[in-house]
């Protein structure tokens, strides 16, 4: 059995998939793993991310399965699950083997690997959708909007296009509390990610207007509640505590 050892990144996993196809591996006898534990009777291959190979895989996937399913595969890879690389690899192998038309990659949910990849992707997709609503910007003294989130999946890259489209005239920053990196959007320019060893969350000084509007929103939230219908369980089901931790109206 051939075992490709990847890092936890989209580039690394796509490179491994490229290598597996290049060497004409049999999918049933090939494994993509993220951990470093030795496996019995395994032939280890240590994968190093290669930009040209990644782009080739991306193009091939987009062409064969369509934009939407390609995005879904990327969402599956943003999850924190250990077996995501294997699930995505086998899903792709399943798609390439059969007569799979664009947009139908995730139809065969009776297959365990497809189902696994689908579940991971759906989970990440839901978190992206939740965060589009639950993320809260706070205005700093210098006018920059700053948001802090702690998502389970690595979804900041999926959130940025939405907010860049929505707030093109604002300088804003999203900070991933769990993975310690920033996504930065300067006005009128392309957004980018900033990560590094010594990065730390800066000390925040909010503007006077920020405190005023936070108060106003808190008041809005409390007076919109109909006391006769009070149902905090429902509130918590729909807005889980892990999001509430980062939202101004709950802290």
């Amino acid at each position: 059995m051939k075992v490709y050892r990847c890092q936890d990144s989209l580039e690394s996993i796509f490179t491994a998939i490229y290598c597996a196809y290049e060497e004409k591996c049999v999918p049933e006898d090939t494994c993509l793993v993220l951990h470093e534990e030795p496996l019995l009777f395994a032939e280890d291959v240590w994968v190093k991310a290669d930009c040209t190979k990644v782009i080739k895989v991306m193009e091939a996937l987009k062409q064969r399965f369509g934009e939407e399913d390609y995005l879904f595969l990327c969402l599956a890879l943003s999850s924190g699950d250990e077996d995501k690389a294997q699930a995505v690899y086998r899903t792709i192998a399943h798609g390439f083997r059969g007569k799979c038309h664009p947009g139908h990659l995730f139809d065969s949910l009776a297959d365990d690997y497809v189902l696994k990849a689908f579940t991971l992707a759906r989970n990440a997709e839901r978190e992206v959708h939740h965060l589009k609503g639950f993320l809260r910007f706070q205005e700093l003294e210098n006018g920059i909007l700053y948001a802090k989130i702690g998502p389970v999946n690595n979804v900041v890259t999926f959130l940025m296009p939405h907010f860049a489209d929505r707030l093109p005239v604002e300088d804003f920053v999203i900070y991933d509390d769990k993975r310690n990196f920033f996504a930065i959007h300067p006005v009128g320019k392309q957004w980018y990610l900033l990560s590094g060893e010594n990065l730390e969350e800066p000390e925040l000084r909010f503007s006077a207007a920020e405190i005023k509007y936070r108060e106003l929103f808190l008041r809005f939230c409390s007076s919109i509640t109909i006391q006769e219908r009070k149902n905090t369980d429902l509130q918590r089901n729909l807005c889980p505590l892990r999001f509430q931790k980062y939202m101004v109206e709950f802290s």
């Binding site: 059969g98 139908h104 139809d107 065969s108 949910l109 009776a110 297959d111 189902l115 959708h129 589009k132 609503g133 639950f134 993320l135 809260r136 910007f137 706070q138 205005e139 909007l145 948001a147 939405h162 907010f163 489209d165 929505r166 707030l167 093109p168 005239v169 604002e170 207007a209 509007y213 108060e215 106003l216 929103f217 008041r219 809005f220 939230c221 409390s222 007076s223 919109i224 509640t225 109909i226 006391q227 006769e228 219908r229 009070k230 149902n231 905090t232 369980d233 429902l234 509130q235 089901n237 729909l238 807005c239 939202m247 109206e249």
Partner: protein, 450 residues
């Protein structure tokens, strides 16, 4: 009427408090139906699915900044908190205040857009003009490109409603009460006819706009998100069958996107209104919403779910289960062969899982284990489906048997807003008491006198 507080001196905080409080009984808070990319120059875009930004203490979503323009209303509707004869603090927003609030909340990602309604100042046309002016300011001067839901005020000049329609994403006219008779009794200033005519106008406007858009791609869009309405449930003696029929005809004849149902909360204490002992009729509202979904997405008709003889929904079973156990002749359904519209009628299979079943069975023969993976609710579905000709367990296709099994565990769960699922046993829990005990009877029982 004299006011304690002078409107000019009132702070923004107080105004927001009063006018949110006054608007909270409006149900519609959806931001869906419009997909609009940002223009790169100003704030805002729209997402077709809609986005919920927060959830209030009653579990309802906060998607839009839901406020009234003013609660100084000349009408005297008996159910409404803002009726002119009610003694509550009054306030009015200026258009500028509404715009800054919307913009500042929006850029902090608190809200998805604005929901603007209003009490009637002087007359409907003037009120509608004020709303129009606010929207115009927000769209043109502030460049707001997000979602706007606005009320069309019945009785306002059609021209001003038409103009507002080009600025808003969704418009709604509240039907208030399901029948004209109920409306006449509780809202003497409103008439069925004046409510339906702007609704028809908006419907025709949307239809005409579709042709315009087909010819000129950049023609301005008229109420792109469609229109909605809402009805108060439980204030008047209508039954569920009447309400559902009204909803169905609104969907069919007025092409509405949504009909909202609002469990009646008695806020005015008017003598013409019922006193609801157990709080707002939340279960009834819930059943109506379930039936509403069946009408819109599952191909059911109102007459299939209820009829003259059974005008109310079953308390124990949801409308779909209720229909299924009364029509056992259609079951069991073979999952691997049944067409989509038949699958949709099986309790436990929803639109998403039906779609997944249809896609997945192209490449494999589905078993019950697969159905579980596709997120079919087998707890309910197992009585009604077969996989490759076999049922999951040997179950009897018998009405009583199925009802017993469907409701077994639910009997223990009380439907209550506090989510209480157990309670202290007492001597009076027999269930055969149809009326509540009088105080004297309890006393007699306690001391042993009969």
């Amino acid at each position: 009427m004299e006011y304690l507080v002078n409107g000019k001196e009132m702070s923004l905080m107080d105004k927001l408090n009063i006018l949110t409080d006054a608007a909270k009984y409006d149900v519609a808070c959806t931001s869906s139906g419009v997909e609009r990319q940002g223009n790169g120059k100003s704030i805002g875009n729209c997402v077709a699915s809609g986005i919920c930004h927060s959830f209030s203490g009653d579990g309802r979503c906060i998607s839009l900044l839901k406020i009234l323009m003013t609660n100084e209303c000349i009408y005297d509707c008996k159910y409404c908190r803002n009726r002119c004869s009610n003694d509550v603090p009054r306030a009015t927003f200026t258009p500028g205040e509404i715009c800054t609030l919307t913009m500042e909340f929006y850029r902090r990602n608190y809200i998805e857009g604005l929901f603007l309604s209003s009490g009637i100042i002087q007359n409907p046309t003037i009120t509608m003009e004020l709303i129009y002016r606010t929207l115009f300011l927000l769209r043109s001067h502030y460049g707001f490109n997000g979602y706007i839901h606005v009320k069309a005020i019945p009785g306002a000049d059609p021209e001003i409603i038409r103009r507002t329609g080009f600025l808003a994403d969704r418009m709604s006219v509240n039907l208030e009460l399901p029948t004209a008779e109920g409306l006449h009794n509780l809202a003497p200033n409103k008439h069925r006819k004046t409510i339906l005519s702007p609704m028809r106008q908006i419907q025709n406007g949307i239809q005409a706009n579709k042709y315009d858009l087909a010819v000129y791609r950049n023609a301005p869009k008229f109420v792109a998100g469609g229109q909605s309405t809402q009805m108060i449930i439980g204030a008047t003696p209508e039954n569920d069958y009447q309400i559902l029929n009204v909803a169905e005809s609104l969907y069919d004849k007025f092409a509405l996107k949504r009909v909202f149902y609002s469990a009646f909360v008695n806020v005015t204490g008017d003598k013409a209104l019922p006193v609801l002992q157990g709080g707002p009729p939340l279960l009834r509202e819930h059943r109506l919403y379930q039936a509403d979904w069946l009408l819109r997405f599952y191909g059911f008709k109102a007459a299939e779910l209820l009829d003259e003889k059974r005008p109310f929904f079953n308390v124990m079973l949801d409308p779909k289960e209720d229909w299924a156990v009364r029509h056992l002749e259609y079951f069991p359904v073979e999952v691997n062969k049944a067409p989509m519209e038949v699958l949709l009628r099986v309790p436990g299979i929803g639109v998403t899982s039906a779609r997944r079943i249809v896609a997945a069975r192209r490449s494999a023969v589905l078993t019950f284990a697969d159905l579980k993976k596709l997120r079919v609710v087998l707890k309910r579905a197992l009585f009604f489906v077969t996989c490759s000709g076999k049922m999951m367990y040997p179950v009897k296709l018998d009405e009583d048997y199925i009802i017993r099994n469907l409701t077994e565990e639910r009997e223990r769960i009380q439907f209550g807003s506090d989510g209480m699922s157990f309670r202290q046993m007492s001597l009076f829990d027999d269930g055969s008491f149809t009326r509540p005990l009088r105080q004297t009877e309890i006393l007699q029982a306690a001391v042993g006198e009969f």
